[in-house]
């Protein structure tokens, strides 16, 4: 079974992918790390830059297991203030 996920890109990650968001389908059991591998392969311009990850508006580590309709956000280190 496949999961329907939405991936959001911000700041440098949005510039590198050329996107603000896109749907992504991954196999059930996929983690945040799997999303990162997928987008790094899809958008080589992301290079090796460090990406922070959030699931449904909360920071989430790479081993976080995803469920149907999760929204995963990718961004480079934050720089508000």
């Amino acid at each position: 079974m496949e999961l329907h996920l939405t991936v959001l890109f911000f700041a440098a990650a949005a510039d590198a992918s050329g996107l603000r968001s896109r749907p992504v389908r991954l196999q059930k059991g996929a983690t945040v790390a799997d999303v990162l591998s997928f987008v790094r392969a899809e958008y080589p311009a992301l290079g090796s830059q460090r990406l922070l990850t959030a699931v449904n508006e909360e920071y989430a580590p790479g081993d976080r297991l995803l469920v149907e309709w999760d929204e995963i956000a990718l961004f480079t280190p934050v720089s508000g203030g």
Partner: protein, 151 residues
């Protein structure tokens, strides 16, 4: 500054917001004047022209707005737990900002000033590490997303 143009999140200890409108520091600082308090410490963070020898022309801020509001709300609640303070307001500006314009205002009201100074310092330091807001520096010789101050 029009308060209706601010995306706001209220918590028991204050509120936070995001807006593309210019910020009225004095007005924000006076959002709360609790009767048990005797001081409000306010940080007015604004756009610097020179950073490590490079000249900034202007800045552009963007954010993951829904998450940024939640994270700022958590900062308010955590600060209220750890410091002897009464109310906190955090407002961050988004969009294009010129040199000298206010990017962030943090106001902390407390019975006594020391706790307010300490909470304000903790809030800006932690905001810079945690809240998903991103600053693009537009220099005279190019532009780049700021690398930030990671924890």
């Amino acid at each position: 500054m029009r308060f209706e143009k601010i995306a706001r999140l209220e918590t028991t200890s204050g509120f936070c917001g995001l807006t593309t409108e210019s910020l009225d520091v004095g007005l924000i600082a006076r959002s709360f004047i609790p009767e048990e308090c005797g001081a409000t410490v306010t940080l007015d963070g604004y756009v610097r022209r020179f950073t490590r020898g490079r000249e900034t022309l202007h800045l552009v801020y963007e954010s993951y707005e829904s998450m940024a509001l939640k994270e700022m709300g958590k900062l308010i609640d955590e600060a209220a737990e750890h410091f002897d303070i009464s109310k906190i307001v955090i407002i961050h500006r988004l969009g294009r900002l010129e040199i000298g314009e206010t990017s962030v205002v943090i106001s902390v009201s407390a019975p006594h000033r020391r706790a307010a100074f300490e909470a304000c310092e903790w809030l800006i330091t932690t905001l810079k590490q945690r809240v998903p807001i991103f600053k693009k520096e537009v220099y005279s010789d190019g532009e780049e997303w700021s690398p930030g101050e990671t924890a």
